[in-house]
Symmetry: C2
Subunit: 397 residues, 2 copies
């Protein structure tokens, strides 16, 4: 059997064995409906409460400030539209960034159609927002600021704490939403210290199951549900709770935080080894995003000039190496990444970008394998590319 | 260990072993994101397509008419609000029934606030709607009719085919939505034959996992998504797909339909044995809903006069018997069931109702156990009830 080296962990992750083991009893033993009064219902209800407690603790929140959703996208939608609709009487101005995940971009585009005024913060060449620009954009009509914690493509860690501090000092209440799907379990988050009102989390990016996300909602936040229907045992989110999924999500968080430093430094070492290996062994490459402590420990993103990211992906796949091109969620669409465009990468270089995203399960040996295979693949693809300086010279001459 | 007799299958069911086995590889082996181009992504993508094909076949639909959601409640919301918003320019009139699941009722109440005109069909003493009343209510403004297939509390099988026929004969297009959460895998559904445009299905009610539902949307239906955000590989429903959940849902449907007649007649036999046993052995009981072929094979619902459903639930729980009171989704709220109210049951009798809902896993021996325990529980509770005619006489005299 062909080996598999999975470096697409920004998209989704393998479910940890311990997580599956934690979920199974809630499928075939404590499988009751959490709203039922009998023992099987009670066990399901308590499992949700216990899971909320576990998740809350990891971000310094209270259990009843956690609402479980079906995914991070739903949590983002809930946060943004939920706050926008509930606070419309106070103002219609929302500020976000040019490099948010598409699940935020599609929502703010929708709100713009409905009459909300959306400002998108610029970012510099490494993807950092400018807090001064944010300050200058704030008006009396501003009701919400949404800034991602870590960029999903280029690993930039945004100055969330500074944004929180700025908003805390304003006289009027401006809600602060942070999409932490790419940072959770990799970079510490403290909703009190950072002054965050709403925080989006996703299970399947931290070795938990797909089909579960969570929204932290600070007590007292004015927000309305975006899904209508009967309420089971959670507030604000209708529908029968995905009990095994919620239990699995909490277990995944528990494992990650029990070994936080160990896992993070492991990923950071692999990240730096991969960056160095690529830069040392492959000519004409361009690292996107910052280096060192300002970069997510799990993110590596390079453009390989003169060739297409899709070709690299498919060739690496033949060696069992799983990676993604540019925009983590748009690669079936072959659009140039809006993140790379925002940091000023020209389209022809953006198209050659590959994201290698790490997890705690990756090994040094796997990185060595990638560093063995990748230069050959790049060389081969460049040898048949019509876009290299040599090819262009030939076809021109 | 105490035995467990689970008779709360209308609420949620145990996940079948074969379903768990089918899900596991999508958690720890083919765990890729369905939008990723590499092999693990491709396998996830194909699993979704295959699952849609399996589900579509069971209702005589096409695979691309199936959209997976996070639960039945979301599917109901998607169907009702999605069609209402997308067709508002044609009219604002919606017709549904007085006995829909709360997940429909909350949505139509919300739409009423937004200016839609909602008519609620009356039902007779057994819970049947009157198709003539429906016909009389139709206007040029009517855009949607939503009628449940089987009532979740009293098991009434509504005349869906007649409704579909009526709507098919109208000149203007009136969309027909059917909530089939309580009938799917128990009563045959043919969306062509019944002329259904939108059909809600739920996984966790058919021995599939929680956290997955589906909406059948007939090709050409004008509908808009209710969740905003980036689209992964499904149309109209954003967010990373719950791949293992979807695979499990399809497996659950496959198993149920492979043995449809066998499972259904098994449940029907247990149902009739339980009804007869209760009526023969316990005085002053009242069966809610119809008898025989017009009743769901898995539903039994009785009121036990002079005592409260909650007390019965808790006492049966001590014997390991899991049941629910009246309204399948409101029993933590202790409101009288809106379904029982609609069929004319007085509040004091509605409060004493207990729903016994069966699955293929229940056995005759379990029913014998219930028929052994239940009369004692009822007798004991009545002996301490202040509401029996005897107690009332005493306290009065």
């Amino acid at each position: 059997m062909k080996r598999t080296v999975y470096l697409d962990n920004e998209r989704t992750t393998i479910v940890a064995k311990e997580v599956i083991e934690a979920m199974l009893p809630y499928m075939n033993e404590y499988y009751g409906h959490p709203a039922s009064l009998h023992m099987l219902g009670q066990q399901a209800y308590e499992a949700i409460e216990q899971s909320a407690e576990t998740i809350a603790e990891t971000i310094n929140a209270k259990p009843d400030e956690i609402v479980f959703t079906s995914c991070g996208t739903e949590a983002n939608d809930f946060a943004i539209r939920g706050v926008a609709y509930a606070n419309r009487s106070r103002g219609n101005h929302i500020i976000t960034t040019k490099i948010e995940h598409p699940s935020i971009m599609r929502i703010t585009e929708e709100l713009a159609k409905q009459g909300f005024k959306i400002d998108y913060l610029e970012v510099d060449k490494e993807g950092f927002i400018n807090v001064e620009q944010l300050e200058n954009l704030l008006t009396d009509e501003t009701i919400l600021v949404s800034v991602m914690h870590v960029n999903h493509e280029i690993g930039t860690i945004e100055p969330i704490k500074e944004v929180g501090k700025l908003l805390r000092e304003r006289k009027q209440k401006i809600y602060f939403h942070v999409d932490a799907q790419s940072s959770y379990t990799k970079i510490p988050i403290d909703v009190q210290d950072f002054n965050i009102d709403l925080l989006t989390l996703s299970s399947h990016k931290i070795h938990g199951p797909k089909g579960v996300g969570a929204l932290y909602i600070r007590q007292g936040t004015k927000i309305e549900p975006i899904l209508k229907g009967y309420i089971s045992v959670q507030r604000l989110r209708p529908g029968t709770e995905n009990v095994p999924g919620i239990v699995g999500f909490a277990k995944a968080a528990e494992i990650a935080f029990a070994n936080f430093e160990k896992y993070v430094s492991h990923m950071r070492n692999l990240r730096d080894k991969l960056i160095k290996g690529i830069e040392d062994n492959i000519p004409e490459v361009l690292l996107h995003g910052p280096r060192g402590d300002k970069r997510s420990p799990s993110n590596v993103n390079f453009s390989f000039k003169y060739i297409e990211g899709e070709s690299i992906t498919l060739h690496l796949n033949m060696y069992g190496i799983c990676v993604s091109t540019g925009s983590a969620c748009a690669s079936r669409k072959l659009e140039p990444s809006h993140v790379l465009t925002a940091i000023g990468v020209p389209p022809e270089i953006a198209h050659g970008s590959i994201m290698f995203s790490l997890s705690r399960y990756n090994t040094e040996e796997e990185i060595n394998y990638v560093l063995d295979v990748l230069p050959k693949v790049i060389e081969k693809l460049r040898s048949i590319s019509p876009l290299t300086p040599e090819s262009l010279k030939k076809s021109g001459g």
